[in-house]
């Protein structure tokens, strides 16, 4: 059976070149980087070289990058570590958006529960955009952290990170207590400008497995001078911010994956082609912003077609796609992103997301469009007329 993988926003295959770069660090150069002997020092060198590669990509200094296990861990460390470092001030005010990844939302809720933070969840418009004026209004003297994702993972909307960063930079000049700015750049890394001086962020989280590195490796950028309290205690690895023996092969793999990022012109063209063809089908609507959107995500709602049965039938035809709907979530709740965007109730469980990657091809677009049409018309025939 033909297999088409259109779920790169969920995870991506490990690039063969990445894997090749990683392999020696499992068996030959397997030393513990904390050790003095040559094997340890070889591993240490590999980590520092990787740190330089990541730093260069973000236009930061190497000592501003720490390696973690995932974007989720980076996000936890950034939020909890910052709030803990400011604990002497009493309750910290955090501003985030209602459409963040659960890693941010649940971390914020954790801090609220502990009584360490008060959190404002900004609304979004129908395209999933956070507005700078809403953000300005939410700021209080106690505000110490703003955390907004760069690209929404469900609908692909690109948030005005640079504008927010510029605004906060200017505002901070007049404030006694600085407001720190974090962004979850997970879905942006492969396609958008993630230079920290361009974005004016203090903290930036991302993961490797969306950019063809393996699962289990992520990183956090921490601007020089931003103080975090480490959340995982033990040794003094990663500038004493993340204890635990470094995952050398995965760190090397992450750096290699970053060095292979090429802008994604081909992906952009394929995504546009797929979007244009799908939107011609009656009752199929784009979710997220029509223009300010990541070049790899096609997010839709389909009238009279329930997400899960669509996914199952596409899967039977070898097509991997994704959707958040009440019926395939553990909590039986529809997508918090679509709800925040005020998508009509009758379409909340009719969402579908295709996300493309560098190895996809034009003929796969045609295959998916053809099968999409067949499955949609079949499921509509199956559905009662209301």
């Amino acid at each position: 059976m033909k297999k088409v993988y259109f779920d790169h926003a969920a995870t991506s295959f490990v690039d063969p070149e990445v894997l090749k770069t990683m392999l020696p660090f499992f068996k030959d150069s397997f030393g513990n980087p904390s050790e003095v002997h040559f094997l340890g020092q070889e591993a240490k060198k590999a980590i520092e070289k990787s740190r330089q590669t990541v730093a260069k990509f973000l236009n930061s200094r190497p000592e501003e990058i720490i390696f973690t296990s995932s974007a989720t861990e980076s996000i936890n460390l950034a939020h909890k570590g910052l709030v803990e470092s400011l604990k002497g001030e009493g309750k910290i005010h955090i501003i985030t958006s209602g459409i963040e990844h659960k890693a941010v939302l649940n971390t914020c809720q954790h801090l609220e529960k502990l009584g360490w933070a008060e959190v404002t969840y900004l609304p979004v418009d129908k395209f999933g955009l956070v507005s700078l004026s809403d953000l300005k209004k939410a700021i209080t003297p106690q505000t110490r952290l703003v955390s907004i994702m760069y690209v929404n993972n469900e609908v692909g909307t690109i948030q005005p990170i640079r504008e927010i960063g510029d605004f906060l930079k200017k505002l901070n000049k007049q404030r006694k207590k600085k407001i720190f700015f974090h962004t979850d750049a997970t879905q942006a890394m492969a396609y958008l400008n993630c230079r920290v001086d361009y974005l004016n962020v203090d903290l930036l989280s991302f993961t490797g497995h969306k950019i063809h590195a393996p699962k289990g490796i992520g990183a956090l950028y921490i601007r020089k001078g931003v103080k975090l309290i480490k959340q995982q205690d033990g040794g003094r690895q990663e500038f004493n911010l993340r204890a635990g023996t470094e995952n050398v092969p995965y760190i090397v793999g992450l750096a290699k994956a970053i060095s292979l990022i090429n802008g994604g012109k081909k992906v952009k063209k394929l995504t546009k082609d797929l979007t244009d063809q799908l939107l011609k089908i009656p009752g199929v609507k784009l979710t997220g912003h029509p223009l300010l959107r990541a070049p790899h995500i096609v997010s839709l709602v389909i009238e009279n077609v329930e997400s899960e049965s669509m996914l199952l039938l596409l899967s039977d035809r070898g097509i991997s796609a994704s959707a958040m709907s009440a019926c395939n979530s553990d909590l039986l709740k529809p997508s918090h992103v679509l709800e925040a965007m005020q998508i009509p109730k009758n379409l909340l469980n009719n969402a579908l997301r295709f996300s493309l990657g560098k190895n996809n091809a034009k003929e796969e677009i045609d295959y998916v469009v053809r099968n999409f049409k067949e499955v949609v018309s079949y499921l509509r025939k199956l559905a009662p007329r209301l």
Binding site: S309, S325, A326, C327, L332, L382, A383, P384
Partner: protein, 132 residues
């Protein structure tokens, strides 16, 4: 081959992929529609009643469903469970039996089978109301 193989039992997937008795019934004697407030799924069941001597039985059953794999499979298997059966017997069919016949459902999907038993109850009531 499907990744969803583990999500659902073989029986559920079989009924989902090849639903029995799907479609509209124009001359139904009873129709029941149930909707889930949880997930927005909607199920409509049509029944045609006949008599064997004094006893009424379900001669034909058809369904239309907008919903997930579990909702579609529950609808399909329900039609096979009631076709040819006496009305008295059919009235005793519970959600539990539907789940059992499907070889089980994941815990978060149990509510989908409730749609089927509710639609059945409503379709029978609709028939009895029309008759009265």
């Amino acid at each position: 081959m499907s990744d969803f193989g583990n999500l659902y039992s073989k029986k559920v997937m079989e009924h989902f992929r090849h639903p029995r008795n799907m479609g509209e019934m124009k001359d139904a004697d009873g129709t029941g529609t149930s909707g889930s407030p949880v997930c927005g799924d909607v199920l409509r069941l049509f029944i045609k009643i006949d008599k064997k001597g004094k006893e009424e039985f379900i001669k034909e059953a058809k369904f239309q469903t907008l919903g997930c794999g579990a909702a579609i499979a529950s609808s399909s298997i329900l039609t096979t469970m009631i076709k040819g059966k006496g009305l008295k017997e059919v009235k005793r069919i519970t959600q539990k039996e539907i789940i059992k016949n499907l070889g089980g459902l994941p815990p978060t999907k149990l509510h989908c089978s409730l749609l089927a038993s509710q639609a059945l109850e409503k379709a029978i009531k609709d028939y009895e109301n029309k008759k009265a």
